[in-house]
Subunit: 199 residues, 2 copies
């Protein structure tokens, strides 16, 4: 797992190999089975997580039991509950594995020191934060303005492999629509596609 | 306008008065009438904007003419289209005044130099970015999981003065619901309140 991360960081930055190995050495490797939680709502998010392989989801469960998914985190991306991590307060969200996954985890005090001591890691981290800001803004716009059909089409475009990697209820929980609506959209689409094939 | 900003920055940071005056001196003051645009979709966002007084909105217009509001920016907050500004690419959103407003604007090259040369301004800026990330995440969760009634109640709680400062269609555009639904929710609420008053 550590080697995989070191290759990723060498590709993404100009950090010297020695520094990369040092950053990597401070991380703890962990395997998470499908559905296993890495963070539960109510706990403090104490780690920055890098996904070596697999897929995680960040979600919130409402009192009525409905699950709403803020974000999926694919391999070679980072995740955490940023507000809980920054302020060391209880998290409102859960982070769990969608499929069997391997992650590296840094404790906050360790990663804070890395950011302080390695300016290029700090710059890299700022680029990731910026990308996250862009994608959150676009997500707000999509949820606000897209019809369920448009939101589903965007999802399939953006993440063509996710449909086969998770149950439909998670797709619905990400799109903010009911499983019933999602099933209806998919059925209508299949009908249209079958119609085109017949011609 | 400049004095108002200087007082704000003196309250929010420990920057020396001289530095604050220097930061302020690089800004251009501008008045925007109600509905006047400060940024149009398709243009590059070239300025960081501080709202001295008034209220701005950041919004997107779909081809069907519907307006979806990403964000309101009240006095003593900052705004820009972050992706357009960072990358100097065409913006997907518009920024316009909801009511007569006064703003200060810094050109990107000037503000970049300030951030490079004044570490405490950079730290302050990072704190603002973090707050923005938290609020965007919470907004995604609210839109995904809240019923229209809950979203309206949250809005009134969070921004008690906004209802009297803007037309209802903007509130609907922010909540991601139709004006018809919003009117129905408000009517039902008034009925309930009238019922309570009768007892």
């Amino acid at each position: 797992m550590h080697t995989d991360f070191e290759n990723y960081l060498a590709q993404q930055t100009d950090l010297p190999q020695e520094t990369i190995r040092y950053i990597s050495s401070l991380a703890t490797a962990r395997r998470a089975h499908r559905n296993e939680a890495l963070l539960n709502a109510g706990e403090v998010c104490r780690h920055k997580i890098f996904i070596v392989s697999g897929l995680l989801r960040t979600y919130h469960i409402k009192p009525d039991g409905n699950e709403h998914i803020l974000q999926f985190s694919n391999q070679h991306t980072w995740t955490l509950d940023v507000e809980s991590y920054d302020k060391q307060i209880a998290s409102l969200v859960n982070i769990a594995a969608v499929e069997n996954s391997e992650v590296l985890m840094w404790k906050k005090p360790d990663f804070d020191l890395l950011l302080r001591d390695i300016p290029e890691l700090k710059q890299f981290s700022e680029r990731l934060i910026s990308r996250n800001i862009y994608s959150n803004r676009n997500r707000i716009l999509t949820i606000l303005s897209g019809t369920p059909e448009e939101r589903y089409a965007d999802f399939v475009d953006a993440f063509p492999d996710y449909l086969s990697r998770m149950p439909l209820r998670m797709v619905a929980g990400y799109l903010g629509i009911s499983l019933k609506t999602l099933t209806r959209i998919r059925h209508a689409q299949q009908q249209r596609e079958a119609g085109i094939m017949d011609k």
